[in-house]
Symmetry: C2
Amino acid sequence: MTTTAKICPSGDERVKLFGLLLETNARLSRNLGVTLEASCALPLAWFEVLLLLRQSPEGHLKMNQIADAIVHTTGGTTRLIDRLEEAGFVSRRQCPSDRRAIHVGISTLGDEKLDQALNVHLDYLEENLAARLSEGERLTLTDLLTKLMATKTS
Amino acid sequence: MTTTAKICPSGDERVKLFGLLLETNARLSRNLGVTLEASCALPLAWFEVLLLLRQSPEGHLKMNQIADAIVHTTGGTTRLIDRLEEAGFVSRRQCPSDRRAIHVGISTLGDEKLDQALNVHLDYLEENLAARLSEGERLTLTDLLTKLMATKTS
DNA sequence: AGACTATAGTTGCCTACTCAACTACTTGTC
DNA sequence: GACAAGTAGTTGAGTAGGCAACTATAGTCT
């Protein structure tokens, strides 16, 4: 009762898991993106950058750190930061110790925007994450994803 | 020793989990995309569609089903299928019961390409998924993600 | 010091997407 | 059976991001 050999791999448990991972993420980001856009006029990518900057211990990051964290190329990141800077949410400053590098810091305006967006985001998470996964499950998920990311080669 | 109030939400466990989810996925897709592109000259989006078509019970799907599954707009999907069709991997046919609808089916060429890509994908999964997560962990992860996607509102 | 390699960031060109407006068909209502 | 409302897919215009080539600075080796 085997369907032809080539059918098998597409039904593989790991293939399915991977597909699920892709889909989950696509839906979550799309949804959050739409929500943020609608309520704060803030593109998801902007939100990611602002959040990242706030979380950074020194309050600023270099272009390549941002690029890596949001998984964009440095070229794409340059343009993204251009737009954020033009909107007044971040600012570029020369890095004192390396003249090639640039420090991107969040501005007061960006800070306010982020607060606003975080409120929306928290509501969103409450509705879409906390409502579906218990705290234990969330911890497990965090753990599993962390393992998946190990070595960042993934 | 609280830093100002506004710092808190950005450190929220759920915010972090969400960020991790975004990042994990971005890295995984980017990596697989590069791998597939390099070894099969097959863009990730094309792979997704081909896989989807093979997994579909009737061997074909309507445009809007594809759009939904890969989380694109119907506009974007039209163009994506245009390219796949031009490459000879899929074909459009009139749906007999609804003259607005179109059935997209995989071609022989597409089938072969998919086999080739699946080999690469399986190696990739072996290296990046199976090596990091035990079977039990993979099952748990599948379970959690499924819960997250429940109702598809997520 | 001088030369070679590596790294940080920007830019031009291109592709793939979104959004909104459109056409064509279907379904429901009277 | 005709008209309104909804649904499937396509198209034009706009945008964000990738790639590869470039500039400028840093580090390394002799």
